[in-house]
């Protein structure tokens, strides 16, 4: 039935609509993905100001009618991430993070860990734009997001036979590392890249390990192929 809801959310995407409106894709703490229209929000006198731009974290009041889109009726800022906005690399990293959210979570199911992770990554990008937009942090975010979505790659032992030694390859279709006997359709995985993924998942996001060139490329491929095979989404390369 129609009525108002209050929730905290991050603006993932903002699309100009009609003369003065915009449609926003939100990821909310309590309802997961939400699509909403903000009427008149592109007028200079709009009470929303620039708050409905991507990467704003907001306390929102939304009116839910019968249509698919909710209507934004109130917005106050929790975090505007001004420093992130002044750094080209951080803006691109935040854009890729929001793109992953859009692709991995496309329903109205809440996922509090995913929401917290996104908020955490945006604050890191704001606190230290240069470090947080490095491939190490960006990949750590993506690995943790895959975990929150239920598609984390298996890294402990061979995904096919359970062997704990000689884990020399990674298979997206198997969804994890594989041993030399089970390589099959996998691609060769270095020890450094394997260790990076294990540590990136174990450590807090703020302490993500560094990912030099080849480590980043292999880890990126591992996460991307796992998500392609198991979540059926294609994410853009991190680095």
């Amino acid at each position: 039935m129609p009525g108002s809801i209050k929730t905290q959310a991050v603006v993932l995407r903002s699309i100009r609509y009609g003369e003065a409106d915009r449609i926003v894709h939100l990821y909310s703490a309590t309802r997961g993905r939400i699509g909403a229209i903000a009427k008149g929000s592109r007028r200079p006198k709009s009470r929303f100001g620039g708050r409905l731009e991507p990467f704003f974290r907001l306390n929102l009041v939304l009116y839910e009618g019968r249509g698919e889109l909710l209507t934004v009726t109130g917005a106050s800022t929790v975090a505007g991430h001004a420093r992130l906005r002044a750094d080209g690399g951080a803006l691109m990293a935040a854009g890729r993070a929001c793109d992953s959210m859009l692709r991995l979570f496309d329903d109205g199911e809440p996922n509090q860990p995913a929401y917290n992770l996104l908020c955490n990554y945006l604050s890191l990008l704001d606190a230290d734009p240069a470090a947080a937009s490095e491939p190490g942090a960006a990949l750590a975010f993506r690995l943790k997001l895959a975990l929150a979505a239920g598609f984390s790659p298996e890294l402990g032992s061979c995904t096919r036979c359970g062997e704990a030694e000689h884990l020399s390859a990674f298979s997206g279709s198997a969804g994890g590392v594989v041993c030399s006997a089970c390589e099959g359709d996998g691609f060769p995985m270095t020890e450094q890249a394997h260790r990076f993924m294990v540590e990136a998942l174990a450590r807090p996001l703020a302490e993500a390990p560094e990912a030099p060139g080849r480590v980043a490329a292999l880890s990126d491929r591992a996460v991307t192929e796992t998500l392609e095979h198991h979540a059926h989404v294609h994410l853009r390369a991190v680095a």
Binding site: L12, R13, S14, Y17, G18, E19, P44, K45, S46, R47, F48, G49, G50, R51, E53, P54, F55, F56, T77, G80, H81, A82, R85, A86, D87, G88, L91, M92, G95, R96, C98, D99, L102, R236
Partner: protein, 202 residues
């Protein structure tokens, strides 16, 4: 639901931005009711614009010939380039009467979500133009997240090439509170920028 030609017209109209199925139907019936002359004038105008208007070979603004009117104008200052996202953005800047330089139209803004990368915009062409004796580049992309990302990317690219082309000044349109807005509704990022860019009065 409707016979072939009508449903085709509705289909074409509903591809236009901001036009849904219902508006497309209303427009289609309006066109059906209109005089033959008016309706055909619309069709002719669409055909003519597609035939005659292309992109300027220098600045990628809309143009009826190989070069647009602004690039052809001898009085414009060619050492000053104003970079905008879309051809439509040239018009409001021209209307200010404050600008005497030339333009460069990127054809959009960087947006990872929409899959728009630097190669999809006329950025390489801009860098090439700057190499041939430009003293200032004004970044006038929109003050949106994607416009900001685009401006930062271009500024960084120009910095990287600075060795090759000497000193080119890169400026960004000031951003702050729009005329007529209320301070109490301004968002924190805008207000922060307005404060950082404050000027002495009198």
């Amino acid at each position: 639901m409707y016979a072939g030609p009508i449903s085709r017209l509705i289909g074409e109209l509903s591809k236009l931005p901001g036009i849904g199925q219902r508006t497309a139907q209303r427009l289609a019936f309006h066109i059906l009711r209109a005089d033959d002359d008016d309706a055909l004038a619309l069709a002719e105008a669409i055909r003519e614009v597609k035939e005659k208007v292309g992109l300027c070979e220098v600045c990628f603004n809309l143009s009826e010939g190989p070069r647009c009117r602004i690039c052809e104008d001898e009085r414009r200052d060619r050492s000053l380039i104003c970079v905008v996202e879309e051809p439509a953005d040239v018009i409001p800047i021209e209307r200010t009467g404050e600008y005497r330089g030339v333009y460069h139209v990127l054809g959009g803004a960087l947006s990872p979500i929409d899959g728009i990368d630097p190669e999809d915009l006329k950025i390489a062409e801009l860098l090439e133009r700057v190499d041939s004796g430009v003293s200032e580049v004004v970044l006038a992309t929109n003050p949106t997240t994607t416009g900001e990302a685009t401006a930062l990317h271009i500024a960084a690219s120009l910095r990287d090439r600075a060795g090759a082309n000497g000193a080119v000044t890169v400026t960004r349109l000031a951003s702050g509170l729009p005329v007529g807005a209320d301070l109490e509704h301004a968002d924190e990022v805008t207000l922060g920028k307005a404060l950082a860019g404050r000027r002495a009065l009198g």
